[in-house]
Each structure stands twice: as C-alpha cells, then as structure tokens.
C-alpha cells in the first residue's frame, strides 16, 4: 500500500490550489481574525492570535474531509484510481490509502502553519503542543474518513464536497471556532456538546490554558472510534465501478 499512499500524497502536494488552501488560507485567517478581534482578548492571559491559532487549526483539521474527497474521487484522479483497481491490490487499500495520504497532508500543513504562527506571534500552546497535536490528528483522521465515506455513499465527489462544506461550517459554528455558540442561542449552545469540534476546542483550551488534560484522551478515543465507523461504512459501500 505504501506506493499508493506515496502517490496520493504527492498528488496532493503538487496541487497548488490544495496546497495554498491548506497553508496560506489558514495562516491568513489567523492573521486577519487575530487582528480584527485583538481588543476582545486579554493579552496577559490569552491573545486573539492564541485563540484563533487553535480555532483555525481545528477548523483546518475538520475541513480536510474536503481534501479527502478530492484525493479519492476528483475527476483527474478517478481514472488513475480505477487503474489501481486493475492491479492485484485489495480493494480496501484504495480508500484507506486516500484516508492516510490526506491525513499526512493535513498534519504536515498543520505543523507548518503552527510553526510559522508560533514564530511570528509567539503562540506557544501553553506547553501542551503535543496534546493539541494529538487532538488535531484524531480530528483529521476522523474528517478524512468522513470525506471518503461520503464519496462512497454518494458515489460522486462534487455532491460530497457540497454537503461536506455545509456540514463542516455547521460543525465549526457549533464548535465555537469563530465565536461562542451561545451567541446564536442557548439551544445552539446545548447542541454544541455533540460536535467533535467542540470537544477538540474545549479539550485543547483546557490543556493549553489550564494544564487540564482530562478531556484529551476521551476526545481522541471517541474520534478515532468514529473514524473506525466511517471506515466500516467505506468497506460496506465502496465499489470499484464508482470510478467508471
């Protein structure tokens, strides 16, 4: 499976649009949102850039589902992926390789953006960088499996992307990435408890700012388990003929 993962990863890396979408776009979001909301945060405890670095990196990990659909069923890779199916390669390797390649692509982008932001704005993640990375990794893995599973279910990358863009935005709002869910209403705030984005945001903030790691492991385990469920969905619904 390694040659396929390597090929899928390289395909993502040589796509300038995807590369910019995963590096420059989140970086600019952090810069702009951090600047706009500078006055809302107490710079002694937490700066706007501290908050939005965490929030946007979480959003980035969530949004990787859209990159996964790209890697799995985008028009330019659909036929070459079909050719992989002509080879003596087990079918499950086709979708698992896309999940893993997208995951690696996402984690590489996250490492790059967080390193740049740490350098420019001194964002230090309160010494909980590895716990934060673990949360992002679990979320990215979940999002990758969701992206591929949506393709398997809908048998079409474009439809999957349209739905996922809305789902991701909803989850991000529910998770308080851009502002606290209570701003929209109490019901919305209560519903946010079911958003994996909320779990990651809360677990990250507690680990980074309170040195409280209690939520990290449960959040990681739940997200990986959900990722497993979506992989099972892929296994049940994936058909090579969808590449035709």
């Amino acid at each position: 499976m390694l040659p396929i993962i390597r090929r899928d990863l390289l395909n993502l890396l040589i796509n300038p649009a995807l590369l910019l979408y995963n590096t420059l776009f989140p970086f600019l979001l952090i810069v702009v949102l951090g600047a706009i909301n500078r006055d809302l945060y107490d710079s002694e405890v937490i700066t706007a850039h501290d908050y939005y670095t965490v929030a946007i990196l979480v959003f980035m990990a969530l949004n990787i589902s859209i990159i996964a659909t790209n890697s799995f069923m985008e028009r330019s890779v659909k036929r070459p992926n079909l050719r992989i199916g002509y080879a003596p390669v087990a079918e499950w390797k086709l979708y698992v390789s896309k999940v893993l390649a997208t995951f690696l692509f996402c984690m590489g982008s996250i490492l790059l953006v967080s390193a740049v932001v740490a350098r420019i704005y001194g964002v230090g993640f309160g010494g909980a960088y590895f716990a934060f990375l673990a949360l992002l990794a679990a979320l990215a893995m979940l999002a990758s499996t969701i992206g591929v599973a949506f393709c398997c279910l809908l048998r079409d990358e474009e439809s999957a992307n349209k739905i996922l863009a809305l789902v991701n935005l909803f989850l991000a709002l529910l998770g308080g990435v851009f502002f606290h869910p209570r701003t929209i209403g109490e019901t919305f705030a209560a519903a946010s408890a079911f958003s994996p984005v909320r779990w990651v945001m809360q677990a990250s903030m507690r680990a980074i700012h309170d040195n409280d790691y209690a939520m990290v492991l449960p959040a990681v385990v739940i997200m990986l388990a959900l990722g497993g469920v979506f992989l099972l969905i892929c296994r049940r619904t994936f058909r090579l003929e969808d590449y035709l």
């Binding site: 040659p3 396929i4 090929r7 390289l10 395909n11 040589i14 796509n15 330019s76 890779v77 036929r79 070459p80 079909l82 050719r83 992989i84 199916g85 002509y86 080879a87 003596p88 390669v89 090579l240 003929e241 590449y243 035709l244």
Partner: protein, 319 residues
C-alpha cells in the same frame, strides 16, 4: 463450453455472462473462449456490451450471473492471480497528467510488486515499444491525444502480462497513432502475447484479428475467423445504388442477370449481391435505366465484416 478453433489452450473462458443496469440488459448470456497467443476481437457497435464485458473481466464490475475462468480455474477465488497476469488498457485515459510519463509507468508497474532494476528495465521496454522513450520525462498534459493513448498502453503493459485487454484504444486519435497502436498489437501477437481487443472499427479488426466475436445488444451474433465470417455472406461483392425515393423494382429482371444473386431494398438504397469478380456493372446499369431508376451514386464493396454485421443484424456497425 465450445472448443476453440485453434489447437491452443484456452486462457480465458466466459460462460453465459449477464449484466443489467436498472431496466437495461447490457449482457444477455454472452459466452466465448479466448485461446492462448491469439488476438481475439470483440466487434460490435457502441452499446453492444463490449466495455461492460471488459469491466467485468477486469474485476471492476460485478456480473449478475455467469461464469468466468482463467486457465480453467474460476475467476472469483483466483481474481488476484488473474489480475497479476492481466494488462488492461481502458478506453478512457487512466494516467496522471501532472507527473511525467516515466513516473506514470513506474507507479503503475510498482503495483505489481516489481522493484529496482527489473522495474526500470520494464519501464524502458514499455515506453520504447509505444515510442515514448524520448519524451519519458515530459508530463502527459503536454502530449497529443495519440501520445496520451500510447502512454495509457505503456501503463497497462509495463508488468509484462500474458493477457492484455484493449478496450477501443484507437477511438478519437490521429491516423499515425492509430497505425502505431495497431502495429504494436501485431508485434504482441508475434511475441505470443494473448490479446483481447474490442472495437467498432471493422477495418482494424480485419487487420489484426486471429479470431472475431461479433456482439450486438449484449449477445453473441457470430464467432470465427475473418474468412469464416465473410463466408457467411457468401463469396460475393455488393453494389450499393443510391436512388431517388419511391422506386419500384422488378427484382426478377435483376435476378435474371448473369451473376446477380440477391436484390436488397433498404433506406440506404438498393443493394445487389453479385458473384465475386463477375463484371455485371454494364448489365446492371442498363437494367436500372430500363426500369427508370435514376442513379445518384453507385458503390462496389468486397465482402467485409461490415457487410457480415449488416447481414446478421440488419443494421450497420456504425449505426
């Protein structure tokens, strides 16, 4: 299952293959055997079920029913073994546009477990045989349509399989690339590689086929060598006469001419089957004139697969 025409081993057997897409029956019990070292052609118009058959053989599409065997063993449990020995050149390009031709062939070769120097050697051979060795470091997006088609072939054969399936590899390409591809297939035949080739171009099939299966509407219509299939319409030439509409003929007077064996009236005009190489043209034109038929055009055709197809199905291959 029937024995093949040649005294060679059967490499692939297809028995009573059926496949439906919702209400449309694409394959209605298709059966055939492919013998070792032959160029086996599936000839039929678009929508005949050729690509469906290929996709089922390649393990991409599931059949509703039917049996397939590779070297006598059912395909189901031996699918991976079969795939290892199978090369597929699909109708649509299945290559990465953004990496070089060399990288394309290397990647698809690596999927068959070939590594290191043997892989490099096979990449060189594959690219060289399709005439792309000199442009191996260029990206396919800079290639012409024909060059991309040839790269599509190199990617499908780099692992040097014993059976290669070509699904309409010459659709929409320039005559030069078409000739290159047909010459390449002939060279495979010379090397003893088994080829399954689908096409709706009867000229190509006539040029390369060892054995031909004619399919239409998911059914096998006829099977045999070019010569045996042509014999089904007799040793005849055909004169096709385009006329004005509403012509009423006295067929008996044409049949009374020396050499005319059959008269056909259709939308395309009049057809006269005549004994091969019999010079009936002056008599034919005179009789047409006598019956007040105004000739718009007149064409003479030798016995060919197009006519065999027309004879067997009542419609044209390109229809």
């Amino acid at each position: 299952m029937k024995k093949g025409v040649f005294a060679l081993k059967t490499i692939l057997s297809v028995d009573n293959l059926q496949k439906s897409y919702k209400d449309v029956k694409a394959l209605k019990g298709l059966s055939f055997d492919v013998q070792e070292k032959e160029v086996f052609c599936l000839l039929g118009p678009n929508g005949a079920g050729k690509t469906t058959t290929i996709n089922i053989l390649a393990g991409i599409l599931g059949a509703d029913s039917g049996k397939m065997a590779y070297r006598g063993k059912p395909l189901g449990k031996n699918l991976q073994h079969f795939k290892r020995n199978l090369g597929v050149v699909p109708q649509e390009l299945a290559i990465y546009e953004e990496i070089t031709a060399y990288e394309n062939v290397r990647f698809f070769g690596s999927l068959y477990g070939i590594k290191g120097e043997p892989l490099k050697q096979r990449i060189r051979t594959a690219l060289s045989r399709v005439g792309l060795l000199e442009v191996q470091h260029r990206k396919p997006r800079t290639f012409s349509g024909g060059m991309k088609r040839r790269l599509n072939i190199a990617c499908g054969v780099v692992h040097e399989p014993e059976l290669i399936i070509f699904d309409e590899p010459t659709v929409g390409i320039d005559p030069q690339s078409r000739k290159y591809i047909l010459d390449y297939i002939k060279s495979l035949k010379d090397d003893g590689i088994t080829v399954v080739y689908t096409s709706h171009y009867m000229e190509e099939v006539e040029e390369i086929a060892t054995r031909i299966v004619i399919v239409d509407h998911g059914r096998l219509i006829a099977e045999g060598t070019k010569e045996s299939l042509q014999a089904t319409i007799g040793d005849t030439d055909r004169y096709t006469v385009e006329t004005e509409d509403g012509v009423k003929l006295n067929e008996d007077r044409f049949l009374a001419l020396d050499g005319v064996t059959r008269v056909e009236e259709g939308e395309a005009g009049l057809g006269f089957l005549v004994e091969r190489d019999k010079d009936v043209l002056p008599d034919l034109v005179e009789e047409l004139s006598r019956q007040h038929v105004r000739i718009r055009s007149l064409e003479k055709e030798r016995a060919n697969l197009e006519r065999v197809f027309l004879h067997l199905t009542g419609h044209s291959l390109r229809g």
